[in-house]
Amino acid sequence: MSASTLRIALVGNPNCGKTALFNQLTGGRQKVANYAGVTIERKEGRFMAPSGRLLQILDLPGTYSFDANSPDEQITRDVLEGNYPGEAAPDLIVCVADATNLRLHLRFVLEVKRLGRPVVLALNMMDAAQRRGIEIDVPELQRRLGLPVVETVAVKRGGALALIERVDGEVPVTAPAMADDPASRADLHAQVREILSATVTMPRQTAVMDDALDRWALHPVFGLAILAVVMFLVFQAVYAAGKPMSDLIGTGFGWLGGHVATLLPAGPLQSLVVNGLFGGLGTVLGFLPVILVLFFFILVLEESGYLPRAAFLLDRLMMSVGLTGRSFIPLLSSFACAIPGIMGTRSIQDPRDRLATILVAPLMTCSARLPVYALLIGAFIPTHRVLGMFNLQGLVLFALYVAGILGAMAVGWVIKHIRRDKSEHALLMELPSYRMPKPRDVAIGLYERGGIFLKRLTGVILALTVLMWFISTFPSPPAGATGPAINYSFAGYIGRGLQYIFAPIGFNWQISLALIPAFAARETAVAALATVYLVGGEASGGLSHALTGQISLASALSLLVWFAYAPQCMSTLAIIRRETNSWRNVAISFGYMFGMAYAASFLVYQLASWLA
């Protein structure tokens, strides 16, 4: 059997470290974090064992049991038994269990064993178990379970060597399959208790550190205060740390563009390179540091185990607006991007809660909106200090995030009240141990996100920017034309057409035009505005200079609010279609967001114009 491929499936309770182990085995870079339900799709990887045999590893979403009531758990069970269409049964099941929490995790191990397939048990997080003085008699555990048991530390280099050695050896003999009925399920707990009392000694049930931290983090008053301070500091830091780096990149590109311009002959090519590429793309690229700073904080929070605490604190509030504490993590990831956020709603079991979360997730301010916000705030909002410590620009940015959240609450409330099915929604959420974020995991996360941003920049944003340049430049004005050349281009005509719709909310034709590419990728609005104004010859002093000269403060505020609520981007709508399998939900999302954005911008524009 040495030449054949061995198919191995990783299963276990949520947050026991399956994906960390998967990455360790396959050299993969799948996302890991410290909460239940990070892995929402099956992932596959392969590696060569020391014996030269190819091992194919399947990473499955975590599950507490094989209760047929839950569709996800039924799928995991079907995969393991080879009943899932298009998926051959694995040759070996590696059941991963958290060594610090065997009382919960062993029950699932016994359930897996009853499938009657070859199983190896990986006792993961052995380092944490040792730190807490938990002693496990592994040979006795192995004897009582009737399964091979290996110790692993998935987050440490070389922490999976024992597992590799074991799976590379003989496939263990299989225990006979057993029926799954309620009586024998209840019996599993009795077995777990018996095994634990014979094999495990724990000095105390919980980690001292967790108790101490939770006393503050979950305190009814301090807990909420800490949460508010954490969130506020993150957004201040995004501005304080990210913005100077962004400005540096922007200045660098302007300088580079100027030098390249002297090398090229004047004409369409020079205009494309200077206005389209350096002006448009350079402006967007400048926002990479801002986005990375935001991701840094989200990754650190995810790894630390704090996020489920925040979900605990906010559950009641979220319930009152038709959501659930479980919505908190998908909604927080939506601050990075709504797409992983919407995919992450799969960890919400209740279909009604899940749909409500999907519908409001795009209202969370995603990182693609940051370039637009940063550009407009930088151009229109003065850098006052408020109360001696807060930057007014940072406060406006914070207010925009809050506007998104309040909008989401309002929409959730409406959904709750028009929903017909009022039966009970469950929370039932596990709170993990706190963990020090690993610099390596954070670095990998930042690298991946930076890569995705650059790929978008050189793909869809580049293509749209060139297209914007093209329609702004051609056709050339007819002989004897008097106005600026751009007025005679395609862009001029399209923009002025759109202006009929957007004039009441204060958008000029350039902004109206920029909304089209923004629908494909929001950041493109910045590149598109830069291109249109540069081609129009109105942006000699930089884009923000051109903006302050061309549009009023009322229009700028209206545009900010528009970006907070508007239905964007195409990919988000596509993922809503995929995750809910319904065009109706796509239409609802698009319709309500368009209406909400238009109404809010209209109010802001009229009010600001009147005040001015």
Binding site: R193, M202, H219, R316, L431
Partner: protein, 80 residues
Amino acid sequence: MRLSDLPKGAPAVVDRVHDAHAADPIAQRLRDLGFVDGEPVRVVAIGPLGADPLLIQIGSTRFALRRSEAHRVTVRQEAA
């Protein structure tokens, strides 16, 4: 006594989980998560708004349960 009425920090053990209605999936899930006769259980923290949800320690695991979920579990307080 119901788990939802247990004072914070008081040690108790689970008696059983009651179905709120026929084939109650929430009750079944609670049993799967280890809310079975004889398990030691404790209320660790109480949510800040409306004293909901509750953070329940069972074994080494902490679960956030809403009051309506905790109401399904009966517990015995023992001098431990």
